[in-house]
């Protein structure tokens, strides 16, 4: 009795190992033929959601130096300095310390002029800590790069959509032509 069971287990082991291997190979084969889900990072980037909270983006010409954002900041990482000449503002600095910032977006809501926004730039590496304290003014440093990237992304998106539309139109035209032929 014992022996027959062992023999059965032996055959079953062989059967199971062959079968499970084939099942696994089928799965990996399917994955191999599908399109990779990764992107070639520095060249391409994954689409970023609209409400993504990245490095801030300041519309300097709208800002009135009211300090509402600095007061709202729970960790006091926003500092700004400007001199008023009548109605004109002369900006000296508007710094944000990204070593402290936790990207909570609380600085955005109280702004009376709606001039500080959370941007889409997230890649942000330096060799020196002091560089994390950076100026949002006049397209300086990272802010400038972030703005350029945003513009590029917008242009690329628009171009892509235009191409898609053109293709769809061409296709639609061709289909329409086909239909016309059929009609004739």
């Amino acid at each position: 009795m014992q022996q027959t069971e062992t023999a059965q287990a032996y055959v079953k082991n062989i059967w199971d190992s062959v079968k499970t291997t084939l099942v696994g190979m089928k799965i990996t084969w399917r994955y191999m033929l599908q399109k990779p889900i990764t992107v070639q990072y520095p060249d391409e980037r994954m689409p970023i959601p609209d409400r993504y909270r990245g490095i801030h983006y300041l519309e300097q010409e709208k800002c009135i130096n009211c300090l509402a954002c600095a007061r709202a900041c729970p960790i006091d990482c926003i500092e700004m300095e400007a001199v008023r000449h009548g109605k004109e503002l002369e900006w000296i600095s508007f710094t944000l310390d990204y070593q402290k910032c936790m990207f909570c977006e609380l600085c955005v809501y109280p702004c009376p002029k709606d001039c500080i926004h959370m941007g889409t730039e997230y890649a942000f590496v330096t060799f020196d800590r002091s560089e994390f304290k950076h100026d949002l003014l006049s397209f300086k440093g990272m802010a400038r790069e972030a703005r350029i990237r945003m513009k590029e992304a917008e242009v690329a998106k628009a171009a892509k959509e235009a191409a898609k539309a053109a293709k769809a139109a061409a296709k639609g035209g061709a289909a329409a032509a086909e239909e016309d032929k059929d009609g004739e």
Partner: protein, 397 residues
């Protein structure tokens, strides 16, 4: 005489009568007046080894790239993409990097053995590679004991691996070497017995002759289809070959998660890359044996058609009795060589596919599989195939 022609003549098949030493004889005749005999022989030997080494490097480079691409796509990513089209030059970049790396030898290592081990491993695989036939009429060495030679030489690499593991003077490397030795001892038996099945059907150990025997049925007379025991034998051979070449799921000698890199933990730079080249060359050879003895070798309908159309003899008797190169037969030989290469790389691809599918098995599972499953099954296959062939001969005469 152009070098290519000299190479072809060097590899002239035995039946032409020139033997495999035609190149050497030609060289001796041409240069004998200027150089001493030993220099000529040394030169010829170095040339031969250089050609085989070049072939091995090319195979290893292509296989590494293929492996990385296969691994990438199975894991839904791209793999190398930047160096050349889809990263096809990646291996060259890696090779340059390896050449430039510091060559380190641990202080407490056995220096001589440590330096000798990669050389021994590579030398063994170069020797084994000499038996690979490039085309029906073009090969490095036409060995009557071909299979035996290849298996013996690829087992030699184990000695190098054990040597490397011991000489490194590290726990990880010694464990890797021990596992390698145990694994190879366990899997040599099913490997040899499973290969015995097609050898029995063919009645020859010579790779080229075995391939010729499969040219019937319009190029589809593969041994695989000629005997019902051949398919299980092929599966058994392939599993044993995986273990023999230290490939996943049997990559215990270099199990990354347990032993860092197993027996090659202490190696760096070009010495390390020798082990790497050996692994890919061994994969190539094992796949080549599978292709020749199970999957029809050079033969396919296309090869058969090319043979019928262009003629098969690469060397024919000329006007005044001298052997001449038959240029018309070159397309046939090219098609045949490419067919074998494709079949071999199909085997390599299967090995890679399995590697990225199966998890690594445990040490005791490896031993159980080798001794309790593969060996008896291989013996059953060999016995069955022998009885089948005997019965066929008794019935059909």
């Amino acid at each position: 005489m152009t070098p290519a022609l000299a190479l072809v003549q060097a590899a002239a098949p035995v039946e032409v009568g020139s033997g495999s030493n035609a190149f050497l004889e030609g060289l001796v005749a041409a240069l004998g007046a200027y150089l001493p005999m030993w220099a000529l022989w040394m030169g010829a030997a170095v040339t031969g080894v250089a050609i085989v080494m070049g072939l091995i490097s090319l195979i290893a480079m292509f296989s590494v790239w293929l492996e990385r691409k296969v691994a990438g796509h199975i894991q839904c990513r791209y793999g190398p993409m930047y160096v050349g089209w889809h990263g096809w030059l990646q291996s060259i970049a890696d090779g340059v990097k390896l050449l430039l790396k510091e060559d380190m030898i641990p202080r407490d290592a056995d220096r001589m053995l440590f330096m000798l081990a990669p050389a021994l491993v590579l030398a063994a695989i170069v020797a084994a590679m000499a038996a690979y036939p490039l085309a029906p009429g073009v090969f490095f060495a036409d060995i009557d004991l071909g299979v035996f030679f290849v298996i013996a030489m690829s087992s030699m690499t184990t000695i190098g691996v054990v040597m490397a593991g011991w000489a490194s003077n590290s726990k990880w490397t010694v464990f890797g070497a021990m596992r390698e030795a145990a694994q190879v001892v366990a899997y040599e038996i099913p490997l040899g017995v499973a290969l015995l099945v097609p050898v029995m059907v063919a009645g020859t150990l010579n790779l080229r002759e075995a391939s010729d025997l499969q040219s019937d049925w319009y190029g589809m007379g593969w041994f695989m289809f000629k005997n019902p025991f051949m398919l299980p034998a092929f599966v058994l051979y392939f599993i044993a070959a995986l273990a023999e070449t230290k490939r996943a799921p049997f990559d215990l000698p270099e199990a990354e998660s347990e032993l860092v890199a197993g027996f090659m933990t202490e190696y760096s730079g070009i010495r390390w890359s020798f082990f790497f080249m050996e692994e890919y060359a061994a994969m190539f050879l094992m796949s080549a044996l599978a292709a020749v003895f199970f999957l029809g070798g050079f033969e396919s309908p296309l090869t058969w058609a090319a043979g019928e159309f262009f003629g098969r003899e690469l060397f024919v008797a000329g006007a005044n009795g001298a052997t001449e190169l038959n240029l018309q037969a070159i397309p046939y030989h090219a098609v045949a060589g490419i067919t074998l290469l494709l079949k071999t790389f199909a085997g390599i691809f299967l090995m890679m596919w399995l590697r990225w599918t199966l998890p690594r098995v445990r040490v005791d599972q490896v031993m159980t599989m080798g001794y309790k499953y593969l060996t008896p099954l291989a013996l059953v296959c060999a016995l069955g195939a022998a009885l089948w062939e005997a019965g066929k001969q008794a019935l059909l005469g």
